[in-house]
């Protein structure tokens, strides 16, 4: 548009139409050339991923009529609703809020279930009950009563003593509650307390109590109900009911009360369900054969196999989630710590300033080191020097943490830097110490930016393969890892292992299903990051 107007001005001013026309043609051609260049990579990737998805779904087996029928049945209500929502931003916001809670809640649920699978739940239960819970209670009490002696040193001491006691008690105690009850105790009580507190703040103590008790009772009922209906364990049901379920319901309740226009968005899931049901009915009524997907429940829950039909990704999924949870812990703690130090504590002038400068340059250089070299770092230091073992989960997690550490540091620094200095000055002016300022002003303000950067970095870590090969993670493993020092598995490693199998079914179906799983996990991680950025970050 701008090109046109400039060209018009040009031609009238010069009074020479020929010159104007020629230059206009060149300009328009150039604009389309640049537009085409911008699209070429995106289109190429989209086409190739389209082929992968078609292979993963097994399009070949389906009736040609199956796709239009299902698409129409599913898409008509869904798209119709979205078309309506597109004109009412409030409704669109609610749909976005719902989807993100489903995606994020499911991610969290998978991570927690993996934690249940791979760790000694009863030991965690002990540590939590005698260590974490009393310490957290004391801390909150200290915060509530403003007693500075209680809110830091005492809880820390209690935590240390409690953890030690838990460790010592592990031997003597041999009776524990069921895993599902432990899940309710460790996850349900905090979730119920936080949601109850939230509702108490907005609707009074009675409502808060009802919500808290309701969440606990609902999670227990839903957990056992789901377990009975689907064959999954009750602990899986409890986790599912608590992470996407409780938060989704609480969000829906708030929307229904607060947003007279937006609450129509709550009908969106109904529209999708109607579409799904209609599609199912139509297909069976018309007797259409569906596709034979490689990616299905069996693929996600069974171990790898020599036979393509039985091959699954389960150990690799568990391994990836295990590794990524550890990476998230390591890289978040050290990355944010380093960023806070560099932005808030590090000396800026003199010899100290020079050291700070060197550290800064060093971090940006680390960001450019090829990932395969980080693999050598893991092999040389963690495997050979420390002697942790070849191809184990802990080494993989530490190597990947170091790999994404520079990215986390740099993005956290940017977020911290964007907190206005006036807010720090105001905190100091009220007599706050540096740590109090950092803790209650800087970090809360910068947290959305920090989270966005960290989540995107985790997305990168989940697809990394080269360093894992170097530190000796096996490409195929038949059982999920259950401890830090066990041989691990990871989704990209399993995909790499499948890539070179000569069998056609592996190279097309199974491989494509693996790639699709990895991409779905990656995109859902990134979409949560984008949501955090869009909704919580202050406009710069």
């Amino acid at each position: 548009m701008t090109a046109d107007s400039t060209a018009t001005v040009d031609s009238t001013a010069a009074g020479d139409t020929d010159f104007g026309e020629v230059s206009r043609l060149k300009g328009v051609a150039f604009e389309y050339l640049t537009l085409g260049a911008s699209l070429v990579g995106i289109v190429a990737l989209a086409v190739l991923l389209g082929y992968v998805a078609a292979d993963a779904i097994g399009v070949g087996a389906a009736d040609p009529a199956w796709f239009p029928v299902v698409l129409l049945a599913l898409a008509a209500p869904t798209l119709g609703f979205l078309w309506y929502a597109a004109r009412t931003p409030d409704v669109l916001d609610v749909i976005e809020g719902l989807s993100v809670r489903v995606v994020g809640g499911l991610e969290l649920a998978v991570a927690l279930v993996v934690l249940f699978v791979v760790t000694d739940v009863q030991f965690l239960f002990l540590l939590y009950t005698v260590g974490v819970l009393p310490a957290a209670g004391l801390y909150l009490y200290g915060r509530a009563t403003d007693d500075s002696r209680v809110d830091f040193p005492v809880p820390l001491a209690v935590l240390a003593v409690g953890l030690l006691a838990g460790y010592l008690l592990k031997g003597p105690i041999d009776t524990y509650p069921l895993d599902s009850l432990i899940g309710l105790w460790m996850l349900g009580v905090p979730v119920a307390a936080s949601l109850g507190a939230r509702w108490r703040a907005r609707a009074g103590t009675a409502v808060g109590l009802v919500v808290g008790v309701g969440v606990l009772a609902g999670a227990a009922a839903a957990g056992y109900g789901l377990a009975a209906a689907s064959g999954l364990g009750p602990e899986v049901g409890v986790v599912l009911a608590l992470t996407p379920g409780a938060f989704l319901l609480s969000y829906a309740g708030e929307v229904a009360l607060d947003e007279p226009v937006g609450r129509r968005g709550l009908l969106f899931p109904v529209a999708v369900l109607v579409g799904l049901l209609a599609g199912r009915l139509l297909v069976s009524a018309l007797g259409l054969a569906g596709p034979e997907p490689w990616i299905d429940w069996g693929f996600l829950t069974s171990a790898p196999s020599r036979f393509a039909e039985q091959a699954g990704l389960y150990p690799a999924i568990i391994g990836s989630v295990f590794i990524i949870s550890l990476v998230a812990m390591f890289s978040f703690v050290f990355g944010v710590g380093c960023a806070v130090y560099l932005e808030e504590y590090a000396p800026e002038s003199g010899y100290g300033g020079m050291v700070t400068n060197v550290v800064q340059v060093n971090i940006s250089n680390l960001a450019g080191v090829p990932s395969v070299v980080y693999g050598l770092l893991g092999l040389g230091i963690f495997v050979n020097l420390v002697g942790l073992g070849f191809g184990i989960v802990l080494v993989a997690a530490m190597t990947l943490s170091l790999l994404i550490l520079p990215i986390v540091i740099i993005s956290a620094q940017e977020a911290i830097r964007s907190v206005p200095d006036s807010q720090r000055q105001a905190a100091y002016g009220m007599g706050a110490t540096r740590w109090q300022t950092v803790k209650s002003v800087v970090i809360p303000e910068a947290l959305p930016g920090i989270l966005t950067g960290s989540i995107l970095a985790l997305g990168r870590a989940i697809g990394e393969t080269a360093p894992l090969i170097i530190i000796g993670l096996p490409t195929t493993i038949f059982a999920a890892p259950t401890g830090l020092f066990q041989k691990g598995a990871a989704m990209p490693m399993q995909i790499y292992g499948w890539a070179f199998l000569p069998e056609e079914a592996f190279r097309e179906g199974v491989l494509a299903a693996g790639v699709v799983t990895l991409m779905v996990v990656l995109l859902s991680i990134n979409s949560v990051a984008i949501y955090v950025r869009n909704n919580y970050q202050r406009g710069s």
Binding site: A3, E31, F334, P370, L377, G380, I469, M519
Partner: protein, 324 residues
């Protein structure tokens, strides 16, 4: 406040103690990043020195035969360097023009609305795991090329690997170049329009030359990324360390040596990163020559990419000075 003696018994004491503890904790986090660098250099150097004390540096750098597993073993790095160079140059030929044109579109032509869709879409290109790009090249792109343009292309080949590396590094070139173009002061553009220049002339004649140092820096960073890229080349370009066959043509009674492009692009090759992965996944034993060779290539790769990152940083600094 500072003149009073420190009271370590009351609340103030806990407070200053806590301040110190927190300060030290954050300092420890910062030290991790330094230790990482020390660890990388240390881990690479120790085993690389072990390698070079048993295998002459001259033969490593100038040898034309890479066969770490099969006797007679030989560690000439030139075929690997050749593989890396071909992949890097080819992917650069794809990515640099596309990236710069994309940057021009984003910074000069695109409306806010188009930009808000295009930029995240481009970021996805950079976020796709490289193993996925490798699979796409091996399973979909190579058969496509075989059925359309090159019937003789090998299953593992340099061309499709390089095309994929090219697509992967486009967003890097585009976003850094776009930043550079956005930093060009608007007064320069206005001056151009004032002289009667068209949008095309302003973009190509004023904005691009003014942003050239930023664009160059994006090129260097993208090349460094292409050199270090591992999984695409491991999966798609095979593991065949070789220099291309030299053919001879009779011309005026002389036999002229030449290299046929098909021998370079349509055949397998092995870049340095790919050789490292092959060494690591074969059953080599710690302390053996082949094991140490892994670290020798690693340090070669590290030094090359580090040098390129530093050069790019210097170019950007120079460019920053111009407009501040």
């Amino acid at each position: 406040m500072s003149t009073e003696p420190t009271d370590i018994t009351g609340a103030a004491g806990t407070r200053s103690l806590r301040e110190l503890a927190v300060h030290l904790a954050f300092l420890c986090c910062a030290v991790v990043s330094v230790l990482t660098t020390v660890g990388i250099v240390g881990a690479l150097l120790i085993d690389a020195v072990g390698f070079f004390s048993n295998y002459p540096l001259g033969s490593f750098l100038t040898g034309t035969n890479w066969s770490p597993g099969i006797t007679p073993i030989s560690f000439g790095v030139l075929p690997l360097v050749f593989g890396t160079l071909v992949v890097t140059i080819t992917s650069a030929a794809v990515a640099l023009p596309i990236g710069v044109l994309t940057a021009i579109y984003l910074s000069e032509y695109a409306s806010e609305r188009v930009r808000s869709y295009l930029k995240p879409a481009l970021e996805i290109l950079a976020g796709v795991p490289t193993i996925v790009y490798g699979i796409l090249a091996l399973v979909y792109l190579t058969p496509f090329l075989r059925s359309t343009l090159f019937p003789n292309i090998s299953t593992f080949n340099v061309l499709s690997a390089s095309l994929m590396v090219g697509i992967m590094i486009v967003p890097m070139v585009a976003s850094i170049s776009e930043d550079a173009m956005n930093a060009v002061p608007d007064s320069l553009r206005q001056a151009g329009y004032g002289l009667g220049a068209t949008k095309f002339e302003v973009s190509t004649g004023i904005v691009v030359p003014a942003a050239v140092s930023g664009i160059v820096s994006s090129f260097i960073l993208a090349l460094s990324r292409a050199i270090g890229e591992t999984m695409i080349v491991v999966v798609a370009s095979g593991s065949n360390a070789r220099l291309p066959a030299v053919r001879y043509d009779q011309l005026l009674g002389l036999s002229i040596p030449y290299v046929h492009p098909a021998d370079v692009f349509l055949e397998p090759a092995q870049p340095m990163t790919s050789a490292m992965v092959q060494l690591a996944s074969s059953d080599i034993i710690g302390g053996s020559l082949a094991y140490d060779a892994l670290f020798a290539i690693g340090i070669t790769l590290f030094v090359i990419t580090l040098a390129m990152n530093v050069v790019s940083e210097l170019v950007v600094r120079r460019y920053r000075e111009e407009y501040q």
